[in-house]
C-alpha cells in the first residue's frame, strides 16, 4: 500500500517530467512567457498557481522545473549507482589488493565533506546546467552506496550458492552478473532512490547557493528566485509549490524504500496490527 502510493507519486512526477513541455503547450503557458499584465498575481484566472514577480506563470515553471529536477535526480542517481556498483561490487567480489585500494577510495570519499566539496567544485564549473550539477552530485555521492554494496557482495561471495556455481567452473563475470548482482537489486534500487532524492535536494541547495543555470528552471531555481521576492511579499503560491514537490517526491521515495527495506530485511516486516485487532475483536 505504502509502496504503491510511493510509486504512484514518483510515476506522476516522472510523467510530468516527460510530458511537461507538451503539457505546458496544451495549457498555453510557458515557463519563460512573460505576462506584463499579470505580475505577482495570486492563483486564479489565467494562471492557476499565479505568477511570479517577473510575470511568468508559476505552474508552468513548476512543470518545466519537474523535468530538470527529475533529470538531475535521475542522472545523478544513475552515475552514483553505477559508480557504487562498480566500485562496491568489484571490491567486494575480488577482495585482496583491489579491495584495499577501492575501499580506501570509498572511505576517503565517505569522509570528505560532500556539500562543501560540491560547492567548491560546482563553483569551478561554469554555467552549471542540470547535467553538470547531476554529474557533480553523482560523482560525490556514490561512496556510502559502494560501502554497503561491498559489504553485501562480500557476504554474497561467500554464500554457498555462489561457491557452488564457482565449483562448477562458472566464470567470474557470470558469477558477478548472474549470481551476485540480482541479489543486490533491492539494495541497488533503494540506494538509487536515495541518490535521486539526495540529488534533487542537493540541486535545490546548490541553486539556493546560486549554483545553477539561468536558462533552466528547476524546483531549486524556483525556490531560489522566489525567496528573493516572494517571501517578503507573502507570495506563498510562488515559494511553496516547488518545496512541496520536493517534499512529496522525498516522501514517496521514503515510502518505496520502506517497502524495499521490508523485502530485504524480513524482520522489518511488521505485523498487520489492524488485521490482528479485527481478527481478535
Amino acid at each position: 500500500m505504502k509502496v504503491r502510493v510511493g510509486i504512484g507519486i514518483i510515476a506522476f512526477f516522472a510523467v510530468v517530467a516527460v510530458i511537461g513541455p507538451w503539457l505546458n503547450d496544451l495549457m498555453g503557458i510557458g515557463p519563460w512567457k512573460i505576462d506584463y499584465d499579470a505580475i505577482s498575481r495570486p492563483p486564479g484566472g489565467g494562471h492557476l498557481l499565479g505568477t511570479t514577480s517577473q510575470g511568468t506563470d508559476v505552474l508552468a515553471q513548476v512543470i518545466a522545473g519537474t523535468r530538470n529536477s527529475m533529470v538531475v535526480g535521475a542522472v545523478a542517481g544513475v552515475i552514483g549507482i553505477v559508480l557504487a556498483v562498480v566500485v562496491g561490487v568489484t571490491a567486494g567480489f575480488f577482495g585482496g589488493r583491489i579491495d584495499a585500494l577501492l575501499s580506501f577510495l570509498t572511505n576517503m570519499f565517505l569522509v570528505l565533506p560532500v556539500l562543501p566539496l560540491t560547492l567548491i567544485v560546482a563553483g569551478y564549473v561554469q554555467d552549471t546546467g542540470p547535467i553538470t550539477i547531476a554529474l557533480i552530485i553523482g560523482l560525490f555521492g556514490w561512496a556510502p552506496g559502494a560501502r554497503t554494496l561491498r559489504a553485501q557482495t562480500l557476504s554474497l561471495r561467500g554464500r554457498d550458492f555462489v561457491m557452488a556455481m564457482r565449483m562448477l567452473g562458472e566464470t567470474k563475470t557470470r558469477l558477478i552478473f548472474v549470481e551476485v548482482l540480482p541479489h543486490l537489486a533491492g539494495w541497488i534500487s533503494a540506494m538509487f532512490l536515495h541518490l535521486v532524492l539526495g540529488a534533487v535536494l542537493a540541486e535545490a541547495g546548490l541553486a539556493f547557493l546560486g549554483i545553477s543555470s539561468a536558462d533552466t528552471v528547476s524546483w531549486g531555481t524556483i525556490i531560489d528566485q522566489a525567496r528573493q521576492v516572494a517571501l517578503l511579499n507573502g507570495m506563498w503560491w510562488w515559494f511553496v509549490p516547488p518545496g512541496l514537490c520536493i517534499a512529496l517526491l522525498g516522501t514517496a521515495t521514503g515510502l518505496v524504500n520502506f517497502g524495499i527495506d521490508e523485502v530485504m530485511n524480513p524482520r522489518l516486516r511488521t505485523a498487520d496490527i489492524k488485521a490482528m485487532r479485527k481478527a481478535l475483536a
Binding site: 550458492f161 555462489v162 561457491m163 556455481m165 565449483m167 562448477l168 567452473g169 548472474v178 549470481e179 540480482p182
Partner: protein, 328 residues
C-alpha cells in the same frame, strides 16, 4: 582397494592465519597431516566434533584453497588448482540446501549452466534426465520451480543433481543432510547410496551423526582437533571403536535401543571441550579429555596402529598391545 584412488589427500596440512582476541596473528592448525583416499564406488564417512576440521578437509579436496603442505591427487596426479577439468571430476554438495541454491534462479538454470560449462548437451531432456536421477518427478514441473517452492529435501536433491550434471567421479558431501528434517534425511541418504551403486561415484560423507555414517558408508574416518585418529570399515569402527574418542562419540550419540523406556542416562564425567587449534596439546591431542591418558599420551604423538579388521588408529593404548581392545 589397491586400485588408484580417484581423489586423495596425501599427508595434507592446512594452517589458517587469523587474529586472536588480542589482535595477535595466530596460526590455526585446522588440518594436520591427513591422508584420505576416495575410491570409485565407495563411500567414506568423516565424523568428528565441531571444529575438528572436517569442512576444511573437504574444501581442500575440492580445491577451495591451497594446501599448506601435502598434496591433493586426482587419479594419482597431483592437482595444482581448481581448473575446469578438476571441476568436471570433483563436486561438492553443501550442508545448507537453502543457501546453496540461488533463490532467484529456477532449477533448470542451475542444471543447464552446469551442463553447458562442461560442454555437455543441455537440452530440456538432459535437464529432465538429471532430475529423474535424483527422483524429482514430474521432472518438467520441477525444472520450472524456484527454490522457495521446494522443500529442503527437494532442494538438496537439486543441489545433488547440479553436482551430477558435470558427471563427476567424486562427490564431496559436507553434512548434506544435517539441515534436513529427520523424515526426509533417509531419502537423500538412499539417493547417495544409489549413486554410488549405479554410477560408481566415489563419495565423501561428512557428518555428526554416526548412525547415519554407519547406515550409508563403507568406511568411517574419525577426526579430532585437526587430525585423523581412527579409520576403517564402518562396522568395525562402530562396533569395535579403538580410540577412546571414537568411543566417546558413539556413546554420546542418541541410541533409543540402549536406554529405551528408562531414563537411566548415565551422566558422563566432565567431558571438557575440544582443544584450541592455535595451541593444541602436545602428544595425543585428546589426552586432556581422555580417561585412559598415560604419560606418553601427554608428551608423544601416538603412532598409527593397524588392526586386522581393516581398521587403524593413533592411540598409545594400542601401540603396545595392538591385538586387544582396552575395556575401560
Amino acid at each position: 582397494m589397491s586400485e588408484t584412488p580417484i581423489l586423495a589427500a596425501e599427508d595434507v596440512t592446512k594452517h589458517f592465519h587469523a587474529r586472536d582476541g588480542v589482535g595477535r596473528h595466530v596460526t590455526v592448525r585446522a588440518v594436520e597431516n591427513i591422508t584420505l583416499r576416495l575410491h570409485r564406488g565407495r563411500i567414506a564417512a568423516l565424523v568428528g566434533e565441531s571444529g575438528s576440521g572436517k569442512t576444511t578437509l573437504a574444501r581442500l579436496l575440492a580445491q577451495f584453497y591451497p594446501v599448506t603442505s601435502g598434496e591433493i591427487r586426482l587419479r594419482g596426479e597431483p592437482v595444482t588448482g581448481p581448473d575446469k577439468r578438476f571441476a568436471g571430476e570433483v563436486q561438492l554438495v553443501f550442508q545448507d540446501p537453502f543457501a546453496s541454491l540461488n533463490s532467484l534462479r529456477r532449477v533448470e538454470h542451475n542444471l543447464r549452466r552446469a551442463l553447458r560449462l562442461h560442454a555437455h548437451p543441455a537440452a530440456d531432456e538432459d535437464v529432465r534426465e538429471l532430475l529423474g536421477k535424483v527422483n524429482l518427478t514430474p521432472e518438467a514441473e520441477f525444472a520450472r520451480k524456484l527454490p522457495h517452492e521446494l522443500s529442503g529435501g527437494q532442494r538438496q536433491r537439486v543441489a545433488i543433481a547440479r553436482a551430477l550434471a558435470v558427471r563427476p567421479s567424486v562427490l564431496l558431501g559436507d553434512e548434506p543432510i544435517s539441515m534436513l528434517d529427520v523424515s526426509i534425511r533417509l531419502d537423500v541418504l538412499n539417493l547417495l547410496a544409489r549413486l554410488r551403486d549405479e554410477e560408481g561415484l566415489a563419495l565423501l560423507y561428512i557428518t555428526h551423526d554416526i548412525a547415519s555414517a554407519r547406515y550409508l558408508s563403507d568406511d568411517i574416518f574419525v577426526m579430532y582437533a585437526g587430525q585423523m585418529i581412527e579409520g576403517g570399515p564402518a562396522e568395525s569402527v562402530i562396533q569395535r571403536p579403538k580410540h577412546p574418542y571414537t568411543r566417546l562419540l558413539i556413546d554420546s550419540s542418541p541410541d533409543p535401543e540402549r536406554a529405551a523406556g528408562s531414563s537411566a542416562f548415565t551422566v558422563g564425567e566432565k567431558l571438557g571441550e575440544p582443544p584450541s587449534l592455535v595451541d593444541p596439546p602436545p602428544g595425543c591431542r585428546f589426552h586432556p579429555r581422555c580417561p585412559f591418558a598415560k604419560d606418553e599420551c601427554r608428551t608423544e604423538v601416538p603412532p598409527r596402529v593397524e588392526f586386522p579388521d581393516g581398521g587403524w588408529t593413533t592411540c598409545w593404548l594400542h601401540a603396545t598391545r595392538p591385538e586387544d581392545t582396552p575395556t575401560p
